[in-house]
């Protein structure tokens, strides 16, 4: 079962869709999320966030702080400022 990923910034939803893996930079180092991950709430450091969607190219997102939550294969990334740096924005 793929991950349901939702990426939101303060004023809009940046990206949402299915992904097989999410790699985020937290304040304690990189964190990779695969389907079936335990529930987690992590504080993000500013840096890149990589989303590997189930179809299409890898998406790289620059996020400036924020947090990431995982529960039941639903990944929510919240950041005041998030922008898709590369990869398709279509979902």
């Amino acid at each position: 079962m793929p991950l349901q990923v939702e990426l939101v910034s303060a004023d809009r939803k940046v990206w949402s869709g299915e992904a097989s893996m999410v790699i985020a930079r937290t304040v304690e180092g990189d964190l990779g999320i695969l389907p079936g991950h335990a529930p987690v709430l992590a504080v993000l450091a500013s840096g890149e966030l990589k989303i590997r969607p189930t179809s299409g190219d890898q998406i790289t997102v620059t996020a400036e702080g924020g947090f990431l939550s995982v529960e039941h294969d639903r990944v929510t990334v919240v950041s005041d400022m998030a922008a898709v740096a590369s990869g398709s924005t279509a979902n």
């Binding site: 939702e6 939101v8 303060a10 939803k13 987690v40 947090f67 039941h72 929510t76 919240v78 005041d80």
Partner: protein, 302 residues
């Protein structure tokens, strides 16, 4: 053309000019309002995600945080008043200011000193006119607030909340803003922002349920530290957006009734002008007829 008629014609022209202006304002407000509503809707996912996360931390950990703890003795209360920058919006600003006055009255009744924080030029001028001191004021974004504005306000409020009371800090923070219900109804409302009352998850877990064990990176306290200010920011951002939509709706309605009134006035003046013109004509005719009769009488008797 008689003097009376000229006066009416010039009045009609003036009202027509006013009508054009109010009509333009109405259309501008209508188009901006649609945008404001869209922005309110667009900010919803962020607010939802943050609220979920905060209630997750509140439910699955026993962390205490300065922003959620009630102070034992409340002596100073801050009030954030969200008003508009510009007028011509009917009773919008005065409604929210009135609500603020009521809240201030209530707080003073409880023995608390009220520290006003004001967003919007109308609120600032209301306070300046009455020579009341204001802790901080912001202006220039009331009809199109950006997240940065909310952040700025939130930073100032959180800073005031975390400072000790003796050094000019406050013990609780209330927000007075206008909630956008629909196009016709916008209600001023008061929300206590800090200390936060965290609403826990919708369904309380049953005692024999196995709670999903959240991992907190790096720790529950650190997560809460990062989350709560964001929660406050998103609440303020939402209040600003709702107020912006309300302001524009109020302005649209006020301008619509102004346009209608102008139309009514034009109609009335047109009628008056017609009467004036008609009576002028009647008078001229009777003068001519009277003159002709006098001439005829004079020549007949000669």
């Amino acid at each position: 053309m008689g003097a009376q008629l000229r006066v009416y014609r010039s009045r009609i022209k003036a009202v027509q000019g006013t009508k054009k202006i109010t009509r333009a304002f109405e259309l501008i407000a209508a188009s901006r309002m649609v945008k404001a509503q869209q922005r309110t809707a667009a900010s919803a996912p962020y607010a939802r995600a943050i609220t979920r996360a905060v209630s997750a931390v509140a439910t699955y950990s026993n962390e205490d945080h300065p922003l959620t703890t009630e102070k034992r003795e409340v002596t100073r209360a801050a009030m954030l008043l969200v008003t508009s920058d510009r007028g011509l919006a009917g009773a919008y600003s005065s409604n929210v200011i009135k609500e603020g006055e009521r809240l201030a009255e209530l707080l003073r009744g409880e023995g608390k000193e009220v520290v006003p924080f004001i967003a919007g030029r109308k609120g600032s001028s209301y306070y300046r006119f009455r020579r009341r001191s204001v802790a901080a004021e912001w202006a220039g974004f009331s009809d199109a607030p950006q997240f940065e504005h909310a952040k700025e306000i939130a930073d100032a409020l959180i800073d005031a909340f975390l400072r000790p009371t003796e050094e000019g800090g406050v013990d609780e923070i209330h927000v007075v803003s206008t909630r956008f219900v629909n196009m016709v109804t916008q209600t001023p409302e008061v929300v206590r922002l800090l200390p936060l009352e965290v609403v826990e998850g919708d369904e309380p877990p049953a005692p024999d349920d196995v709670l999903p064990l959240y991992e907190f990176e790096p720790s529950a306290a650190a997560v809460l530290d990062a989350l709560l200010p964001k929660y406050v920011e998103s609440r303020i951002f939402n209040a600003l957006l709702q107020s912006a939509a309300s302001e524009l709706a109020a302005r649209q309605r006020a301008m619509k009734s102004a346009t209608d009134n102008a139309e009514e006035l034009i109609k009335r003046y047109t009628r008056l002008a017609n009467t004036a013109r008609q009576s002028e004509i009647t008078q001229e005719i009777s003068e001519i007829v009277g003159g002709a009769n006098a001439l005829a009488d004079a020549s007949a008797s000669a």
